[in-house]
């Protein structure tokens, strides 16, 4: 078991190295002169030179790389071109809203999607199943920002039940905090929910065909025990895998959702940095988001060992 976890941990290293190399060389090998593009269209040649110096692009690539890796190893993601603040500090400032949004979405989505998938598989080809899967197909095609505006239009503008946009920190009261998260979470979660519900149904349908489910039924076990223990535990590996794959959807979705709802989180920070072409921030955020994704997938890989005793460590 320990050796399995250790091996998985080591498998993370090359992935993160590739990510780091990728963002590093993207800046260096981009077509044209990135410094000129970052500095803007009407920048003077001094301004361009200043940007180049700030990014370290005027030094040899090997030296740039060494400096950059040295910084990374010390948790230094560089400095913003415009505000001169450390990227790590900017990220820390914006962490709370994004964590609140993604965690609430993650929990609510999984808590709804898996039961929907289980019921759909149990009542396969019946009305409940068709409704659930129709919803899933629609949900999967719905762009996050379109759904977000549809929700705002009805719940905030027409019926005025919830705030149009903005974020209220936990420190300022639980109810406003929760209220400010409802619409963003739904907008962010629907695609993810559709994905998980579909894989849950597909995986459960396959498991329900198995001989051991017939055995469980021949023992006269209650339906909920057959579905939730005998079937769902066997169906879990593909479901958990897709939960991991969907983290990418969630991260991309956060960037958009925070923009629509004007939530001052990491997504908003990304978009602002892109619009200002503040590459060090973009680069730092990519590393952080990729690391989150890789770590979650690592946890998921490890969870396989608990879900399926046949997986050898």
């Amino acid at each position: 078991m320990t050796s399995y976890i250790v091996r998985r941990l080591f498998a993370v290293v090359p992935v993160m190295v590739v990510v780091a190399l990728f963002v590093f060389f993207l800046l260096r090998f981009a077509p044209g002169d990135p410094a000129a593009i970052i500095a803007g269209d009407d920048a003077t040649s001094e301004a361009i030179a200043a940007v180049r110096a700030k990014l370290g692009l005027d030094r040899p690539v090997v030296e740039q790389f060494a400096v950059w890796v040295w910084g990374l190893a010390h948790g230094d993601l560089g400095v913003s071109i415009f505000s001169n603040l450390a990227v790590t500090r900017l990220i820390a400032q914006r962490l709370e809203p994004t964590l609140a949004l993604t965690l609430s979405t993650l929990i609510v989505t999984i808590a709804l999607a898996i039961p929907i998938g289980v019921v759909a598989a149990w009542k396969a080809r019946k009305l409940v199943d068709r409704l659930a899967m129709g919803f899933a197909v629609l949900g999967f095609a719905m762009p996050v920002f379109v759904l977000a505006y549809v929700l705002i239009y009805f719940f905030a503008v027409r019926w005025q039940l919830l705030p149009v946009q903005g974020y209220s920190p936990v420190a300022e009261g639980l109810w406003p905090f929760a209220q400010s998260l409802i619409l963003p979470s739904v907008a962010l979660g629907v695609t993810y929910m559709a994905l998980i519900a579909r894989i849950t149904r597909a995986s459960m349908l396959e498991v329900l065909q198995q001989d051991y489910i017939r055995t469980a039924n021949a023992k006269g076990l209650a339906t909920d025990r057959v579905l939730l223990l005998h079937a769902l535990k066997n169906a879990a590996v593909p479901i958990v895998t897709v939960i991991g794959i969907g983290i990418a959807l969630l991260i991309s979705g956060v960037v958009i959702t925070e923009t629509v709802f004007n939530i001052p989180g990491l997504g908003r920070l990304t978009v602002d940095a892109v619009l200002k072409r503040d590459y060090p921030i973009v680069q730092g955020l990519i590393l952080v988001f990729a690391a989150v994704k890789v770590v979650i997938n690592l946890l998921i890989d490890i969870s396989y060992a608990f879900l399926d005793p046949r997986i050898r460590y």
Binding site: V19, F22, A30, V146, V164, T241, I256, T270, R277
Partner: protein, 287 residues
């Protein structure tokens, strides 16, 4: 995850049966053909998507302006019709480019094991970066344009194709008839062309369809974030981005192009689901 085995080499691709047996394909395809037709001939029937008429700003949908007007008085019907071009061009070019690149890399990886280790590590790394972020990063460093948007979307999508193609190649390589062909001295090129390539087609088509849908979503998202094609190009993402400020008084400027985007993605996804169920039953079970 699941090893691909047995019945692969015998499966044949037959479009006619595929359509007859699968209503999802037909529905998705008809919807898509309709949208493509609108994108091709539509613009010759409508006016200038860039024509500004401040007098008629923010008019709701009516007989004169079917989809209303935006804050510059531009006709949203015209702009939406033009916008379908950008979506479809991006979707199709990304699907084709990513398929060609992914197919080549997948075939080579599946076939030459030494290459495989390196390329797959790189693919894992690229896949670790959420696609929108990767595209954004590329765009930050270049001047906006349709070409760079396509490139920026192709890069994160290629690994998805490579993975599918590679797994099929690996499965086929393990087939006894391929082993005997190698033992019998068949040349590698011929083997790839005659036996391996045809078998990768079905899963490749299915995957390319999903890539197409995903590319259209990413393109619109980039436009929405202000990092897509230049703002003067009427793409659905740009129209929606420009409608944000006045959303509360002119919701149609977002909801209508948004509806078109959702419908197009839905059509392509349905086509993909149908093709998958028909052509690749094992993949269907996996997702």
């Amino acid at each position: 995850m699941v090893a691909i085995t047995d019945d692969l080499p015998t499966r044949r691709f037959s479009l006619a049966t595929a359509i007859r047996r699968n209503p999802t394909i037909t529905f998705g395809a008809v919807l898509l053909i309709l949208l493509i037709a609108i994108a091709i001939v539509g613009p010759s029937f409508v006016g200038d998507p860039l024509k500004i008429a401040p007098v008629y700003r923010l008019r709701p949908p009516s007989e004169r302006w079917w989809f209303g007007t935006d804050q510059f008085g531009r006709d949203l019907f015209t702009r939406t019709i033009y916008g379908s071009r950008v979506s479809l061009i991006v979707g199709l070019s990304v699907a084709v480019t990513a398929s060609v690149l992914g197919l080549a890399m997948g075939l080579l990886c599946g076939y030459f094991r030494a290459l495989d280790a390196i390329v797959m590590r790189v693919m894992d790394g690229v896949m670790a970066i959420p696609s929108i972020l990767l595209a954004i990063a590329l765009i930050t460093l270049t001047r906006p344009g349709l070409g760079i948007v396509i490139v920026a979307i192709v890069i994160p999508e290629v690994p998805r194709i490579v993975r599918v193609v590679r797994s099929v190649v690996l499965a086929i390589r393990a087939q006894p008839y391929i082993e005997s062909a190698i033992a019998g001295g068949t040349r590698h090129v011929k083997l790839l062309w005659r036996h391996v390539l045809p078998n990768t087609l079905a899963p490749l088509i299915v995957q390319a369809t999903y890539v197409c849908a995903s590319a259209m979503l990413i393109e619109a998202s980039l436009g929405f974030l202000g990092a897509g094609v230049p703002p003067e190009v009427p793409s659905w993402g740009n129209i929606i981005a420009q409608g944000r400020t006045f959303f509360q008084i002119a919701p149609w400027s977002i909801l209508i192009p948004g509806g078109f985007l959702a419908l197009t993605v839905l059509a392509v996804n349905l086509l993909g689901d149908g093709l998958r169920d028909r052509l690749d039953p094992r993949l269907a079970r996996r997702l």
